[in-house]
């Protein structure tokens, strides 16, 4: 579904991503794990068109999207829940969801109801300005907003960041549910334990290179991973 071929990304003179390749197959949950600064978010931003790779290409759903502008990538069916959620804090919950459906000609009531069934808290707070939501609610809104575009593939950047353990559990169970309902997922996480738990396959990113890959289980068992990311 998504193939990333040997991409190289630079921030000015800094070579941030050094020839990264990986793929996400339909129906999978794929995790990209790695330490802070390894380049995980950069990979996602490059896929969604916010950054451009210097070389290499990205193919989504049989279409080369390497040079596609960010706002057109969403239209192709790829949604990106960015790091730090980046919801529109000055807009209401409903308006945020409407923005998620910007690529659709109308916002369907059904889609809204669907989101509210998945995230009942958002329904209670629909008229509230998003800046007044708690961290967990903001994460729900960020995910709900991305789902409004009816993506084939959803990319999540650090969905557990800054959340209490119980909310982290909740977020990951929602991710699993979404996946079961047919959305393919590419997940970036520092919380390697949680990510490997839900992922079918995973890649380990270290300073711009992929150093390991395997099924979630394999990696969770691997000594290297246990030492480096799972605390022993």
């Amino acid at each position: 579904m998504l193939t990333v071929n040997d991409i190289n990304v630079y921030y000015g003179p800094i070579h941030a991503i050094k020839g990264v390749s990986f793929e996400v197959r339909p129906g999978e949950i794929v995790a990209l794990i790695g330490a802070n600064g390894a380049g995980k978010s950069t990979v996602l931003k490059t896929i969604s068109g916010l950054l451009r790779p210097k070389t290499g290409n990205i193919v989504f759903d049989g279409r080369d999207i390497t040079k596609l502008e960010a706002h057109k990538v969403v239209r192709a069916g790829l949604a990106h829940v960015p790091e730090g959620r980046r919801i529109f804090l000055q807009m209401t919950v409903i308006e945020n969801l409407e923005m998620g459906a910007f690529t659709k000609s109308t916002v369907s009531e059904e889609d809204l109801e669907d989101i509210f069934t998945k995230f009942p808290r958002l329904k209670e707070r629909r008229k509230q300005v998003a800046g007044t939501l708690s961290g967990g609610e903001q994460q729900m809104l960020a995910m709900g907003r991305a789902l409004m575009s009816k993506p084939k593939l959803m990319m999540l950047d650090e969905p557990s960041m800054g959340l209490a353990p119980i909310l982290v559990e909740q977020v990951f169970s929602i991710i699993t549910e979404l996946n079961k309902a047919g959305t393919t997922i590419l997940l970036v996480e520092q919380n390697a334990g949680m990510a490997l738990d839900v992922a079918h396959r995973a890649y380990v990113l270290e300073t711009g290179n992929i150093t390991l890959s395997g099924t979630g289980e394999e990696l969770a068992q691997s000594d290297e991973i246990r030492k480096a990311y799972l605390g022993g």
Partner: protein, 295 residues
């Protein structure tokens, strides 16, 4: 004239110039809200609008309606064109480059108008005509009334556009977080063009109303008007739409008050003193929020 009727007529004067400042201030504020640019060429767009109306009505002898439509359409087009030609290539440049470019565009427009239209002022034929009416013993100017009504209607329409329509919501999204807005599928370029179009259309309306109050067009007419509207935008809180409206009316009423006290030579001075005071005491203005710099 009784004290009461002086107050009423000065109130109308203040609301009249205030509503023009508000229309122009909205353009400043909307553009600042979306690309953080103080578009110092904004006042000169009004000047171009005034000349367009003059050409239509005096040189071509067309009726005022055509002059009005042409001025608004011309300003809208000019605003979008300036953004595409001068500002959009600098999207990733430092903000100072953008600001200097805006000042350059302002000089360019003033000088090119002087070259084409001559340095002298052109007398504007009357655009809005109707008889004044009485409110008790006070005579109320028809032009003032039309100016206030048209401005308020424009602002109501703008508020609806920004709050309720898809494009307006997209505008707010882009102005809050350009990156996240792109991830929603919102085209940043289109949204910025749209913002310039709306802001410049308001300037076009402002041009028509301004020329109805002060019936002449000259190459530098936009600079003082633009600067005062800028003060209004800062007073209201730059980037805030309701702020620009409040700031505009406040500056207009203040000017009328200063004039009513017999100090009309101090009018401009007082307005710029307000700018200094606001920047010292509350730089975010009346409605402004403290914007956290994104890291």
């Amino acid at each position: 004239m009784s004290v009461f009727s002086t107050i009423v007529s000065q109130l109308f004067n203040g609301l009249q110039s205030g509503s023009i400042y508000a229309l122009v201030a909205l353009g400043y504020s909307m553009v600042y809200g979306i690309i953080m640019l103080l578009n110092f060429a904004h006042g000169d767009i009004i000047m171009v609008g005034a000349y367009i109306a003059w050409i239509m009505m005096t040189m071509l002898g067309l009726p005022p309606v055509i002059g009005i439509i042409a001025a608004i359409a011309g300003c809208t087009l000019l605003g979008v064109l300036i953004e595409k030609a001068a500002y959009s290539p600098l999207r990733k440049s430092p903000r100072l480059s953008l600001l200097i470019t805006a000042i350059g565009i302002s000089f360019f427009l003033e000088n090119i108008s002087q070259l084409i239209m001559g340095a002298g002022a052109k007398a504007m034929p009357s655009i809005i005509s109707g008889s004044n009416f009485r409110l008790g013993t006070t005579e109320i100017s028809f032009v003032s009334t039309v100016t206030i009504v048209v401005s308020v209607l424009s602002m109501v329409l703008l508020t609806f556009l920004v709050q309720k329509t898809k494009m307006g919501k997209g505008m707010r999204a882009v102005s809050e977080d350009m990156g996240a807005a792109q991830l929603m599928g919102i085209s940043v370029n289109k949204t910025i063009s749209f913002t310039f179009a709306v802001g410049s259309a308001l300037a076009g309306i402002g041009a028509v109303l301004y020329c109805s109050a002060y019936p002449q067009a000259s190459p530098t007419m936009g600079s003082m008007l633009g600067l005062k509207a800028f003060v209004a935008a800062v007073l209201g809180g730059i980037g805030s739409i309701p702020g620009a409206m409040i700031g505009g009316f406040a500056i207009g009423l203040l000017e009328a008050l200063v004039s009513a006290l017999g100090l009309s030579v101090w009018k401009d001075g007082v307005v710029f003193a307000i700018l200094i005071v606001v920047l010292l005491v509350k730089p975010t203005g009346i409605m402004g929020r403290v914007i956290k710099e994104k890291v």
